[in-house]
Symmetry: C2
Subunit: 392 residues, 2 copies
């Protein structure tokens, strides 16, 4: 159903009012659109900056239906809309991208792992577990420590536990969440292959990146991943494009990868997680690629031909800005200092209340020298967080 706004262009809605929605709105403006946002609250990150904001519940069929009926296509800032509700909307003929069948693989880690294993895509050894006995049985094969993950609802390290023995496992089991157990693989580093796919079936990949985590939260992304052979990069991109096709993803698909030592002395790739929306590992594309992931996501869900994914500089580094302990620090003053120190650093702030450890923005640096670029991003993020300049 064609639902058109200004200039006769389609109306796009996004469920969720977080920073992904905020940055998608920013990109939508260039395309002649104004993103419609279904937000939890009027002070949500995207709700502060978009014109067409509805406050409602993403778990309410009624709210979702009313929102979706005003949009030509609806897409998502997060994976938290129950699949049953999406199926109901789809049955009513409303256009939802990615669709419920695809999205299930980003909502349920067990479904995803089973599907990927069936496709022959390498994943860490895993099994569904319900009891400590199940976990002990799995440990018999993969050893302790091992990883327990909530099958649904985890993010940013939440819902992931590394357990060293049966007693620790018992505590997690006691929490009552549905669990998947995984081998704790000896990873060398984490990578991400981010692609987009349109309903027509066109795919486009950005360069594979290295992601650096701290306490389960991504703190830094380096594009392209340093010291990654062209062969391995093509393998990762190919795997992501194939997954987008097999799972019928529409929009951005981020494939989080583990690079692990292989028996042959080289390395191999395992898929860790999937996200079917713009993803933190591709925020660098705003300045670092000719087409940002936010524009690309819109192009994909509108079935426009996809944009050029070339890099705009040899090296691009994104550093997440995490809230510091001094939540009432004068951020405006710190911005003055930071801009004076590094006029080329690009700052993105999400309008969020500052809480310790919360992602409240990100910084992007780019240039010819990887170590210099990386240092600039780190120095900037550390300064905005703490008010202190990293030395050395």
């Amino acid at each position: 159903m064609a639902i058109r706004g200004a200039m006769g262009l389609p109306v796009v809605g996004m469920v969720g009012g977080g920073q992904l929605s905020r940055m998608t709105h920013q990109a939508s403006i260039a395309l002649g659109l104004s993103l419609k946002v279904l937000a939890d609250a009027a002070h949500d990150s995207a709700a502060l900056v978009a014109n067409g904001v509805t406050v409602g519940e993403h778990t309410s069929l009624e709210d979702l239906r009313a929102f979706a009926r005003g949009c030509e296509v609806v897409t998502f800032d997060h994976e938290h809309v129950p699949g049953g509700l999406l199926e109901a909307l789809e049955a009513e003929g409303l256009r939802i991208y990615p669709g419920s069948a695809a999205l299930r693989h980003a909502q349920d880690k067990l479904v995803m792992r089973e599907r990927l294993a069936a496709l022959g895509i390498p994943v860490p050894p895993f099994t569904p577990v319900a009891t400590v006995r199940d976990i002990e049985g799995f440990a018999h094969h993969v050893g302790w420590p091992l990883v327990l993950k909530a099958a649904t609802g985890g993010y940013d390290g939440k819902g992931v536990w590394v357990v060293g023995d049966a007693a620790e496992a018992a505590e997690v089991v006691a929490s009552g969440v549905r669990l998947v157990a995984e081998q704790l693989v000896p990873l060398q580093r984490e990578l991400a292959a981010v692609v987009a796919r349109s309903p027509y079936g066109q795919g486009a990949a950005w360069p594979v990146v290295e992601t650096v985590q701290s306490d389960g939260i991504c703190v830094e992304v380096v594009a392209p991943a340093p010291n990654l052979s062209e062969e391995r990069a093509l393998e990762a991109q190919g795997m992501a494009l194939r997954l987008a096709e097999e799972l019928d993803v529409v929009g951005v698909l981020a494939v989080e990868l583990f690079e692990v030592a292989s028996d042959s002395g080289g390395s191999s790739l395992l898929v860790n997680e999937l996200a079917m929306r713009p993803h933190n590992s591709a925020h660098w594309t705003i300045e670092g690629a000719r087409t940002s992931q936010f524009e690309q996501h819109l192009r994909a869900v509108l079935d426009y031909p996809l944009g050029d994914t070339s890099l705009t500089a040899p090296w691009v580094v994104m550093a997440n800005l995490l809230g510091g302990d001094d939540g009432d620090a004068d951020l405006d003053r710190r911005l003055h200092m930071l801009f004076a120190k590094d006029p080329a650093l690009k700052v993105h702030l999400y309008g969020k209340q500052v809480k310790p450890g919360r992602k409240i923005g990100h910084l992007t640096a780019l240039g010819d020298d990887l170590e210099a670029v990386r240092r600039r991003a780190q120095v900037g993020a550390h300064y905005l967080r703490t008010g202190l300049w990293l030395q050395g």
Copy 2:
């Protein structure tokens, strides 16, 4: 007076809801802000995409005051706010950038020319004229044809007349507008030097560009201006930075220049017009420079240190998208075709009703080969306007 919004960051207001305000809002999002807009109507270009929109009259002191009181600083999308109203707001302690004393030079061509002449900045020979006899007297010195310009209120070729004799001049005089007469200079081409200046006095210049006009409307901008010697480019940038300082401009200052043949066989520069706001001649900076004019304008009015103005590619070409004669053409369909043809072209649409000749968007191409880049921008703009592909 500190008026703060999300994250304790300043609230910035822009008077006028046109595309400059729309693109400034887009840039404001990254800085953690949400531009407040005083628009003429709810369907104005910026009013469609910004969250904080007030519909009001930019000629009403009451509307301006109420708007400005909710902002830490107020700036402009156009020059049409009467100077007397700005002075009244300033007298009340409200922060207005650029200030009324600076803005006068962008509002009144006679004031601007007299001030520039007094500063020794080269301008075409000019004189205020009120009668046909005045014009004939001026023609005695500079010859026919000559140029008559409305001292205030002109834009995009409106308010400018080239008159070949006294009879034609009489028609313009009969219109009753206050006029400035100028020599019709033998221009080789038009250039623009765009800079920004902060209240602290920091200045930053983008590379000088060539602007191509058709029927008085800018249709294309090439950055940097081809075949411009470094000496001449530095002269133009220096002139613009000096003007920003002398006139106490805060924000973006665009200096439109004529390059004319000089007696020595070379060329020299004359200042044609000034604009004290983001300007069409710098739309290319969104993708073509590390800091866009919209971000820079915000940094300047907030007295943040200014951003890096480096080019992101050797050549950047912007083509304005003008409304075609088929105002109800399916723009969405044309976008599909255009994106398929040129995945690297960047499109900016303003959400405006399509009218023949109206600026409804712009396209930006960039790359290593000037003629190829220029062609891509032209082909794209022509196709979106007409539905036809330029051949050859």
